[in-house]
């Protein structure tokens, strides 16, 4: 996953409408901290860089480097778990 990657949720994975969890086949993944907001932008259209820009606009004052790292780390973990694709 790099800044140009365009991540999307794997088939059968979706955010719960109100709880901070990702619903996946046979289970759920709890989304701590900003993870839900990050995944909320994963739509198969926005690139990782564009997702970071959106989040920077939402979390005003957040350092860009740290934000980028958090987003890439989360998406990599989710990709390893098979629930995000790029």
């Amino acid at each position: 996953m790099d800044l140009q990657s365009i991540p999307r949720l794997a088939p059968g994975c979706r955010l719960h409408p109100s709880e901070p969890v990702l619903l996946v086949p046979e289970g759920t993944l709890n989304l701590a901290g900003p993870a839900r907001d990050i995944l909320g932008h994963v739509d198969g259209k926005l690139s990782v860089a564009a997702i970071v820009e959106r989040l920077l606009a939402e979390y005003s004052g957040a350092p860009k480097d740290e934000m980028t790292q958090d987003v890439v780390d989360l998406l990599n973990r989710m990709e390893q778990r098979g629930v995000v694709r790029s």
Binding site: G12, P17, P25, E26, G27, T28, Q80, R81, G82
Partner: protein, 355 residues
């Protein structure tokens, strides 16, 4: 009595009818009749009440859920209630048109099990001609926005071919892969001497599974469960009795687990007479082994009780005749020799199919 436990998943056994007659079927010996099954309206209410209780997942299973003509309605109702909809199916008789109606209704995840790597043996285990139908369904599934799990059901008859079996699964390219050792409940218990793997088979299978996990990382999510009968400590059966899940059988009996009906004296409340929320809180069957009050002293004093919740009550009963006994899988059980004896023997046995 009230409980602070919150159920997470609902297993909806919508019918016991099934075109397959698998030797390892874990459904009860006595199946429920079609005429007595819950109606569409009953299930709709169950799904709504489940969502209100905080349940997130429904697992449509059976039997074969496709045997229900109202399946699209059931899926739509579950989805409308807010549940994530999983379906476990043999895929037999599932046309592309019918699958389209199910996905349209809200089906999100489909699980297909395989019995072996080739036609003759797979059909022998399934008790019917189904292997080629399952294989043919896979490319059709891929045309839909649906999560797809392949479940490899393993036991003594096919465990020697595990590497090739995983290879077959990889070719089918599912999102998830489960390697499920047969458990000896319901009909499967009758075929235990035929199905229970040998120690050598189990030992050989462990590095094969570990290597596959490594190889498939990031491609196919693999979940494998160690075979219970070779463990030193029991499994956390159903995540603890009455703690995470509810099962509704085809006629509406609410059960804390798949096999609970084998335990003498347990009576199950029916969703035709009670709301799901009441059943979860107050049904005596759900409270019977909830928490640790029922536990023998050895379990009560054991820190593992936080992990395995005392193991499996049905297994304790099936192996020792006492549902309150320590699960004999546990090496602290005075009956653990029942398992060491079974492990040491691999008797010749003939398959017994459901009539």
């Amino acid at each position: 009595m009230s409980t602070s436990f919150k159920p997470f998943s609902l297993i909806a056994e919508v019918t016991h009818r099934c075109p397959l007659h698998c030797l390892y079927c874990s459904n009860p010996i006595e199946l429920q009749r079609a005429a007595a099954e819950l109606s569409t309206e009953d299930w709709k209410r169950v799904f709504e009440e489940a969502a209100e209780l905080g349940i997130l997942h429904v697992h449509l299973t059976g039997g074969e859920p496709l045997a229900r003509k109202d399946l699209p309605e059931l899926i739509a109702a579950a989805r409308a209630a807010g549940l994530y909809v999983n379906m476990i199916t043999s895929g037999v008789s599932l046309s592309e048109e019918r699958l389209a109606t199910l996905v349209q209704a809200g089906l999100e995840h489909l699980q297909l099990s395989f019995q072996d790597i080739e036609e003759v043996s797979a059909n022998h285990i399934a008790g019917t001609r189904s292997h080629s139908l399952k294989l043919a369904l896979v490319p059709v599934l891929k045309r839909f926005p649906l999560a797809f799990t392949v479940n490899l059901v393993v036991h003594r008859m096919n465990l020697d071919r595990l590497e090739a079996f995983i290879g077959l699964a990889e070719e089918l390219a599912p999102d998830r892969l489960e390697i499920a050792h047969v458990q000896y409940y319901g009909w499967a218990l009758r075929n235990r001497s035929l199905l229970m793997p040998t120690r050598e088979q189990v030992d050989r299978s462990i590095p094969i599974v570990a290597a596959a996990k490594q190889r498939l990382k990031g491609k196919i999510h693999l979940e494998a469960v160690f075979p219970d009968y070779y463990a030193s400590f029991p499994k956390a059966c159903v995540g603890g009795w009455g703690q995470q899940m509810m099962l509704i059988d085809p006629v509406g009996q609410a059960m804390p687990c798949h096999a609970a009906a084998v335990i003498p004296g347990l009576e199950f409340d029916n969703v035709r007479e009670h709301a799901l929320g009441w059943i979860w809180q107050a049904s005596p069957a759900f409270n019977r082994f909830r928490g640790d009050r029922w536990m023998p002293e050895t379990c009560l004093a054991c820190p593992r009780k936080e992990k395995d919740f005392g193991g499996c009550r049905c297994q304790a009963f099936l192996l020792t005749g006492d549902a309150e006994a320590i699960d004999p899988v546990c090496s602290y059980s005075p009956n653990h020799d029942l398992l060491t004896t079974l492990r040491a023997s691999a008797p010749e046995a003939l398959p017994i199919w459901r009539g």
